[in-house]
């Protein structure tokens, strides 16, 4: 991992302070993985082996409905965590896919090393508390949006907060994430300002 990648990774854990020795150990447990566009990083039916931190690219987390169509649950992108966390922690087969929508470069940590971070460095508990709180708040906010906002309001709310790189992925993924048909998304994109 180069220094730039490590700097980005470290900024994801602002609560954690290391001694030089600890930092070397922390840095050593991450491995860099690259994925081509359309690669299935995690396949449903398999167990997620890694917790990822994204350096480059965009990834979609989706589940298949009973017609086999993709229902997008979320995205990850540079600077964000990625992976199928429930499968990773529970060691159970994943019901979701993680797909690279753009060529992706990610840092990966396996479960043994991930759990050891909490044992070795107490600061990780503070990080974990804030991280999971933010994840929970994010999911609650999305649930409220899906249940209470109109398609147009959902579109505006999402476009106002989503990073630039997400706007360049195929529309059908964004439409699915916003629980609308691709045609609706396309119509809103051409007619609504945000």
């Amino acid at each position: 991992m180069d220094d730039q990648a490590y700097g980005l990774l470290k900024s994801f854990f602002p609560q954690v302070r290391f001694t030089a020795e600890q930092e070397s150990r922390f840095r050593g447990v991450w491995t860099e993985k690259c994925f081509d566009r359309y690669a299935l990083i995690t396949e449903a039916g398999n167990t997620e082996r890694y917790f990822y931190f994204v350096l480059e690219g965009v990834q979609a987390l989706y589940i298949l409905n009973d017609r086999g169509e993709k229902v997008v649950l979320g995205f990850s992108y540079a600077g964000s965590p990625s992976g199928v966390f429930d499968s990773f922690v529970s060691r159970q087969a994943s019901s979701t896919f993680l797909e690279a929508l753009k060529p992706s470069r990610m840092l990966a940590i396996n479960l043994g090393d991930y759990l050891a971070l909490f044992e070795l460095f107490p600061d990780f508990h503070a990080w974990g508390h804030l991280f999971f709180r933010n994840v929970l708040f994010g999911r609650l906010s999305r649930e409220v949006e899906l249940l209470t906002l109109s398609a147009e309001e959902r579109y505006v709310a999402f476009m106002q907060r989503c990073p630039k790189e997400l706007k360049a992925i195929p529309q059908k993924y964004l439409a699915s994430y916003l629980n609308m048909k691709p045609e609706t998304f396309s119509r809103l994109r051409s007619s609504v300002r945000y």
């Binding site: 039916g45 169509e69 087969a93």
Partner: protein, 192 residues
Amino acid sequence: MATLVLHPENQIQRLNVLVNKVENLQAMHPHILTTPPSPKAWSIVEIIAHLSISYGHYRDKVERTLAQSPTATPESNVVSARLWQKFVIEGQRPKGNRRRWKMKTLKKFEPLLPRENLSRQKLDEVFATFKTLHEHLKQSILASRQRDMSRIKITSAIGPIVNFYLPECFEFLLCHAERHMVQIQEILDSQS
């Protein structure tokens, strides 16, 4: 009749579930794996061998077809099963825990395993062959996501009465394997 749309991701998910189930079977006692529910029926290991034989008839055709097919993007690459092919596929697909349309197996698909004194090593070989072939199947399904699958048809192992585009072929093979997983569960239930 409703359209049967074939999504490679759906096929990959089902294949992963199936391969994991077979991996779990391998850890079972040899007596469970080699004892058929009746003298004329297959044992679990014979079923696993049969699944490998079945895919073996397709492997080279699948490889050739993928090599000859032009590239495509996954977004534009959704295939629906044709009417006759859908009928053949649905004939294999189990309905819940039930196998419909029970049929006699052609000689060329029969597992040729000795019924007595099957060693652990031989059992492991059968499972290893299954794993290798079905990893090939998975890689083929993955590769098909970025190939135009609507150009080349292959003749099925049943004969020219059925031809398949590869997504239809994958679906047929998966339904066939899922059907035999139901049969395996029936054997396990009868032994418990």
